[in-house]
């Protein structure tokens, strides 16, 4: 109750300031005295003054505390805001990773399906779910950079200060730096990268499309000067990239039933309407992006070829055209440089997702693995029936087993070097031919210039090249041929061999008496020797080509020829179609010829190469033909139209020989070529 009084008398206090001072002095002195004497000395005005004074002091302190409190509150808000920003950033990055992973999965599944018509078992290629989403790929880092830029832009718009942005970017950098140090399974990474490149490439197409669309939108904001403009241009470009990713995701009209619900939903709804249906996170991001793109569609004035699509030249166009601010300009070329690399490395890929469907889909093969370890020409190669592994046979008298999942990254990034898992030594002369046993038999057969056919038990794919020598790898030796064995073919546990001694022999390699029958076209010693042989008609017949060009079809029951066609050019290879009664032969005169296996009629003939055709392989579905030639090139043919789909220059010449064999993997998307230069190459 005293305080209101004091308040009333506040004017007095000013008048009596000095007096109050003295009064206080008195009162302090008097504290030591006993109470009665104290009360005597107090005067009402003095007390009032004292109280007024005290009150003023408290008020002052209170206001100070309030200021402090406000300051702390501001600080708390600041920190909370920062934390929230961090979280948003993190979520966004995680979302982005999910997007990319998802795109990758879809892409992989589609690719797999189109290649083989079989759904991919995702489990094979997916990283373990608990694996942290580290992003060490340069390709993906470009994405991160874009993401960071985008968020930066976004945060600036909702009013975060530069300080926070800086702090945050530092932390993000630290975070990313950490992630980069984590060691990932290199195989997964490589596979991933490959797939990722493909995604990116397809994204580029989408970007173009997107730009075309936005070009029609009304331009909303004016061009701001200097760095600002540049920044905007950049963000539009990156938004476009991300947005394109979404469009790409939603545009998938493929049947992806197997993947997961998300896919199914997306594929059946037009992009604009997917709102509630899609994954919540995806929706959020999409909205954000829409907002951004609406506001900044103006950047689209840069034209419809954004740097994402057109590589470094486009990048410089942006920089030059915008008179870039220094700060941003430093970062930008870096990001674009990475992108440019990406697009360049994808250049030969004629792969367009926008129009991708089963009919128009066209896979392009790229060299991925180089198998160096042979000292001399590689004469033959064969893939493992199921694993990503292959065996090569060389003129250096050895065979080598390679596991494509155990690679050494090569220096110039483009390909991978593989080191052999095992070296098979037993032949005493060049090894000329090779055949892989049935699935799960884990065996292979090789024939050499020494006239022997050897059976090998394949070491497991986990074998180490420097394990102790295991003599059990060497199996039976079939010694009936008296001259070089030039061709081997295996089916249903039987083996067909063609030798320069003039005979073709049928074997049951594991039997006690392995030789089943000997097929001889002509008893005379001058008869031309067989060059190659292959099983035909579900292994009930044998197709054999001779050095004079004759093609003979034997019935394996009777051992008698049932069909004979003559051709004037020496043949090097014969392959029978996996499902149709069709025989394909490769000739010295640069031709590939197709024969009807029933009538013996020549179904088609074509000049396939610039030099002798040496290698032939049919894909497991019988849709494509692969041929190799001494002209150093491998060609892929569409069997239906007999047109060349792709040509790859693969090997160098040694004397006048170049490519000696080609092969398809029976299950996986691999093709391979073997060269006289001692290398084998695997394409994916």
């Amino acid at each position: 109750m005293k305080i209101p009084t004091a308040m009333d008398d506040s004017s007095v206090s000013h008048h009596n300031g000095g007096q109050v001072g003295s009064q206080i002095g008195v009162s302090v002195n008097n504290k030591q005295n006993d109470e009665p004497s104290q009360s005597v000395q107090y005067s009402i005005p003095g007390i009032l003054h004292f109280i007024q004074h005290e009150w003023a002091r408290f008020e002052l302190e209170r206001s100070q505390w309030e200021v402090d409190r406000a300051e702390f509150e501001a600080r708390i808000a600041f920190l909370q805001g920062e934390r929230k920003g961090q979280e948003n950033l993190k979520n966004d990055l995680v979302r982005r990773i999910k997007m990319l992973e998802y795109a990758l999965k879809q892409e992989r599944a589609k690719f797999h399906k189109l290649k083989y018509g079989v759904e991919l078992q995702q489990g094979d290629v997916r990283p373990p779910p608990e694996e942290p989403p580290a992003e060490p790929e340069p390709a993906e880092r470009a994405q991160w950079k874009q993401g960071r830029q985008l968020i930066k832009q976004y945060l600036q718009e909702i009013g975060y200060t530069d300080t926070i942005l800086d702090v945050r970017s530092n932390r993000v950098r630290a975070l990313l730096g950490l992630n980069n140090e984590e060691v990932e399974n290199p195989n997964y990474r490589n596979y991933d990268k490959q797939q990722h490149d493909r995604c990116d490439y397809s994204m580029n197409h989408m970007v173009r499309k997107y730009d075309y669309d936005t070009g029609k939108e009304p331009r909303k904001s004016g061009v701001s000067a200097g760095g600002g403009y540049n920044e905007e241009g950049l963000s539009v470009q990156e938004t476009a990239a991300v947005f394109a990713n979404f469009e790409f995701l939603t545009n998938q009209e493929m049947d992806m039933d197997e993947i997961d619900d998300l896919d199914a939903k997306q594929s059946h709804h037009p992009p604009g309407k997917q709102g509630e249906e899609v994954d919540h996170e995806a929706e959020e991001v999409l909205n954000e992006l829409n907002l951004l793109t609406e506001r900044e569609a103006d950047g689209g004035g840069q034209g419809d070829e954004y740097p994402v699509g057109s590589g470094s030249s486009g990048g410089s166009a942006v920089a030059a055209g915008a008179g870039a601010g220094a700060g941003e300009a430093d970062e930008e070329p870096l990001a674009l440089g990475e992108l440019a690399q990406l697009t360049v490395s994808n250049e030969p890929e004629a792969y367009d997702v926008a129009s991708a469907n089963k009919e128009s889909f066209r896979k392009t093969w790229n060299a991925k693995y180089t198998l160096r370890s042979h000292f001399d020409g590689v004469r033959a190669l064969a893939f493992h029936p199921t694993e990503p592994a292959l065996v090569t046979a060389s003129e250096d008298h050895t065979l080598k087993l390679w596991n494509l999942q155990r690679t050494v990254p090569a220096k110039k990034s483009a390909g991978l070097d593989v080191e052999p898992l095992y070296t098979f030594r037993a032949h005493t002369a060049p090894v000329l031919c090779l055949a892989m046993g049935a699935p799960r038999s884990e065996e292979c057969f090789s024939g050499g210039l020494d006239g022997t056919i050897r059976v090998w038990n394949l070491p497991p794919p986990t074998a180490d090249p420097y394990d102790p020598y295991d003599p059990a790898v060497q199996g039976a030796v079939l010694r009936d041929h008296t001259d070089a064995v030039w061709s081997l073919s295996s089916a249903h546990g039987r083996l067909l061999s063609a030798s320069a001694d003039g005979t073709v022999r049928l074997w049951a390699p594991r039997a006690a008496r392995p030789l089943l029958s000997t097929l001889r076209a002509d008893e005379s010693p001058t008869a031309p020797a067989p060059a190659a042989a292959d099983f035909a008609d579900a292994a009930s017949r044998a197709a054999v080509v001779y050095r004079d060009g004759t093609l003979l079809l034997y019935d394996l029951e009777t051992g008698q020829p049932v069909l004979r066609v003559a051709c004037d050019s020496p043949a090097h290879r014969v392959r029978s179609h996996p499902t149709l009664p069709l025989l394909v032969t490769a000739h010295e005169d640069r031709h590939i010829r197709f024969w009807d296996g029933v009538s013996g009629r020549c179904a088609h003939t074509m000049v396939a190469h610039l030099d002798a055709v040496t290698g032939l392989a049919l894909d497991p579905n019988g849709l494509f033909l692969l041929s190799g030639s001494h002209d150093c090139s491998v060609r892929l043919w569409n069997l239906d139209t007999k047109t060349c789909v792709q040509e790859i220059t693969a090997h160098r010449k040694k004397f006048d020989e170049s490519i000696l064999d080609v092969a398809f993997h029976p299950l996986r998307p691999y093709i391979a070529s073997a060269g006289a230069d001692g290398l084998a190459k695997v394409f994916v």
Binding site: R372, K411, D450, Y466, A529, E588, R652, K653
Partner: protein, 221 residues
């Protein structure tokens, strides 16, 4: 054939007899335009007469000596596969538990993270496999036309290890060694090669001179 009749195509066509394998007229070194010319030339000279060491190791003029040595070493390692095949039949881990030549040294296999006392046959295989990897390494030998000086230096250690295969065969599997040597003259050629180019020091060459029976000193470095 679509090619001109005058042109010789040096090819081994499927179905050719073993005796006709690589039997084509020699091609002068100057006319070889392949990146594998040196290998072609070396193999061609060996095929003509494997015992003529002088001719085989006579380097063509204006040839890069690094490449010349490298290609020869490739050829040695390749032909040594033949000796390894023969040894596989006789040199068992039970009998030759260590890689030895004379009693003086036990050689440790360098193919492992920490050098190991591999049985002789494993040492042989590992050394040849390791040499194949090194000599085909894209890192050290990316080209077969020119070779860095630092990579040429790597040839020495390969030669030293490879020589131990000869010496093991000589001291422990003399019959195999003699049969192989008679056929290929490989050890003689190798010794001539490493001596001519001073790739490994003479006191490591512990095999007696193969032409005369005069044994040389058995000291090792």
């Amino acid at each position: 054939m679509a090619v001109e009749a005058v042109q010789i195509l040096r090819r081994n066509r499927p179905g050719s007899k073993a005796k006709d394998f690589c039997r084509w007229p020699d091609e002068p070194f100057e006319e070889m335009d392949s990146t594998l010319a040196v290998q072609q030339f070396i193999q061609q000279t060996i095929r003509r007469d494997p015992s003529n060491l002088e001719a085989i190791l006579k380097m063509p003029e204006a040839q890069d000596e690094g490449v010349w040595k490298y290609e020869h070493l490739r050829q040695f390692c390749m032909e040594l596969n033949g000796l390894a095949v023969k040894l596989q039949a006789e040199c068992k881990p039970e009998t030759c538990t260590q890689m030895t030549a004379t009693e003086q040294w036990i050689f440790l296999c360098a193919a492992h993270k920490t050098p190991k006392e591999c049985p002789a046959i494993d040492y042989t295989r590992h050394t040849l496999d390791g040499a194949a990897c090194l000599l085909n390494s894209n890192k050290y030998f990316p080209s077969r036309v020119s070779i860095k000086e630092s990579s040429v230096a790597k040839l020495g250690s390969v030669c030293r290890r490879v020589y131990r295969i000869f010496s093991h065969a000589y001291f422990h599997h003399r019959a195999i060694f003699d049969a192989f040597e008679k056929e290929t003259h490989l050890c003689k050629r190798f010794t001539y090669f490493v001596t001519k180019y001073s790739i490994i020091s003479k006191d490591i060459l512990i095999l007696p001179k193969l032409d005369d029976e005069q044994p040389v000193g058995e000291s090792e470095a």
